[in-house]
Amino acid sequence: MNIEELLDRYFEGETSADEERELRRFFASDHVPDHLSAYRLMFAYFDEEIAEGKDKAEEIWSEIAPGVIQERHFRLSRRSVVYILSTVAACVLAFLGISQLLYPADPCFCSDNYVVINGRCYTDIHKVRSSAFEALHEVATPADEYFPEEDSDAADRRLIDNQLKELGSIFSDDE
């Protein structure tokens, strides 16, 4: 199609996107006839605008109906939120998975009082109490082993008492 016919159709608003691209390419080339050189600047401007990423339609829409554009923006944001939330959910799951791996769940974690016997966990309070008491009873060795200072006096007293008894018996024998 002739470039002038294409130009006419462009001004009539009948050109397709491909045809408009062809027009822009033509006016960007060095083969533009003199009588059409006036349009060169116009198409150069459009090219520049496209390169800058400006959406003319969006600009027009924002002037005509700003709400429509806002809605479009909101839709995009909602999508981002979904992505972000999915990422967060994945991170939380990964964190829980890793912590589970590093710190395996305690079968008795739900209970403050428990006893583990041969690897099996029991939360029966009587069993727990008796097991605790057994351990406590076991470590409760005689006081002179744990508290020699306190009991050294008692031991000394016992020794003195024994010696006094012996002495007393000697005296009684003499009598």
Binding site: S77, S80, V81, I84, T87, V88, C91, V92, F95, L96, S99, L102, Y103, D106, C108, F109, D112, N113, Y114, V115, V116, I117, N118, G119, I125, V128, R129, S130, S131, A132, F133, E134, A135, L136, H137, E138, V139, A140, T141, A143, E145, Y146, F147, P148
Partner: protein, 157 residues
């Protein structure tokens, strides 16, 4: 701008969640600055081992906030390991009473300072003639006299 807001919210959520997770694991590790915790962790779920943990209202009447004990039968390796742990924890102890036999500790009593001024921590250890190891950890506002009363009163907890 909205994205920045959401990003901030995400970070906030992460910051809230992370300490919660970390806290959960921290609760499981009670006396984490003590080496004896390794004895509970390493042998607590093995065969011939009895591990007890008590806390909260069950211990209130005794002035304790936490009680943990482990009894290990027929495990010489565990005895060596426990002795090593006791040796490490002994360094931070306020009071130490030990009975040794043939160079090895056979019974021990350590009183350690708690995180708060009025809180005491006690480590009790004994290995009997049959080689049964008993290790007890007690935490609370009780003092050594209270502990002696508990130890030598043949009364259930």
């Amino acid at each position: 701008m909205k994205q920045i807001k959401y990003t901030l919210l995400v970070w906030l959520a992460a910051l809230i969640l992370f300490p919660a997770g970390a806290g959960a694991t921290e609760t499981a590790v009670m006396q984490k600055d003590l080496k004896i915790q390794d004895v509970f962790q390493r042998y607590g779920r093995k065969k011939n081992v009895t591990m007890v943990e008590l806390s909260n209202e069950m211990l209130e009447t005794y002035g304790m906030t936490r009680y943990k004990s482990i009894t290990i039968k027929n495990d010489p390796e565990a005895l060596n390991f426990t002795r090593q742990c006791l040796e490490a924890d002994q360094k931070g102890a306020r009071k130490i009473k030990e009975v040794t036999d043939d160079g090895g500790v056979i019974s021990a009593y350590y009183q350690l300072p708690g995180k708060e001024a009025d809180i005491n921590r006690f480590v009790l250890f004994k290995v009997n003639a049959k080689g049964v190891i008993t290790l007890v950890y007690i935490e609370g506002d009780l003092d050594s006299d209270d502990l002696i009363t508990i130890l030598f009163t043949k009364k259930d907890l």
